[in-house]
Amino acid sequence: MTNEKKIELLAELFEVDASEITPDKKLSELQWDSMNMLGLIALFKSELDIKLPAAKIRGFSTINDILEEMK
């Protein structure tokens, strides 16, 4: 998956412009709530076929943490 596609998907998830999805962006500055955590789990499953455990998600603090898991 291209980096551009990853950014596009995360922008859709957080309902922001793609320009706001930068690696150092803090998730606390985006809508990092339980619905978006579930949305992230769904995104990983449908787009990457990766099962993302809830425990791991709770440890995320920046966009880069998510991008690292998308490799």
Partner: protein, 248 residues
């Protein structure tokens, strides 16, 4: 024993509500045909049931055209026809609609709804039964809104709608068709669904049900009743077993 002499096929029988139904039916004298994907867990449940003659069939309902006829055939290889069918298998992905994909919709509809319809189709054949009771495990999500559960709710709404037509269509053939609508029941499925919630959020969820979270046995009790002769005048019903969820 309210199910003495009966033989009941239960999907999703390796855990949660399905397992509780298998245990309750067996303790009430029924022979149980347990269907689920996890072979090892299925065999464990079967071997722990009271009574004998129980059958375990490992199958994945994601391919119902192929597996459902085979399930029903295997279920009756002992020469005994079925008297009951319980569809407790199901998946409940929590997916905000902004992330929903067709593949996911097909998956959830296949397991939760399409496989049920195929099971009914093959259960009502003379080779499998001579009448009986059909119970679908639906959900209160079919009639109340929950964030992230629009797809899941769609499958349960489909079940509920079909139950009524099936009841009318199959009444003169000797079949009763009902659904049970549980609310939040303390199962692995609930744990998965609430995995990202914090304690406060889970507490808020519990408050939606005056009687708190239910146990799988609470649902199994209602299933046993609907399978039993005591419910012989009940068909086409959507029965909430919800700790008061729909009363609020």
């Amino acid at each position: 024993m309210i199910l003495a002499g009966q033989k009941v096929l239960i999907t999703g029988a390796s855990r949660g509500i399905g397992e509780a139904c298998a245990r309750r039916c067996a303790s009430e004298g029924a022979k149980v045909v347990l269907v689920a994907r996890n072979r090892e867990r299925l065999d464990e449940v079967r071997d722990s049931l009271p009574g004998d003659g129980h059958i375990a069939i490992s199958a994945d309902l994601r391919n119902p055209d192929e597996c459902v006829p085979a399930i029903l055939k295997k279920a009756c290889e002992d020469g005994l026809k079925l008297t009951g069918l319980v569809h407790a298998a199901g998946i409940a992905p929590v997916v905000p609609v902004k992330m929903i994909a067709t593949a996911e919709l097909l998956d959830i509809f296949t397991v939760n709804y399409f496989s049920f319809m195929l099971l009914v189709r093959h259960f009502i054949r003379k080779t499998a039964s001579d009448g009986g009771s059909i119970v679908a495990i639906s959900s209160v999500a079919a009639c109340s809104g929950w964030q992230g559960l629009s797809a899941y709710a769609g499958t349960k709404g489909a079940l509920n709608a079909s139950i009524r037509s099936l009841a009318v269509e199959l009444a003169d053939k000797g079949f009763r068709v009902n659904s049970i609508m549980p609310s939040n029941i303390d199962t692995d499925m609930l744990k998965e669904m609430t995995s990202v919630l914090n304690e406060d959020e889970i507490e808020q969820l519990k408050k939606k049900q005056p009687l708190g979270f239910g146990a799988p046995e609470d649902v199994a009790n209602a299933v046993a009743f609907l399978l039993s002769p005591a419910s012989k005048f009940i068909t086409g019903t959507l029965l909430p077993v919800d700790g008061g969820y729909t009363a609020i």
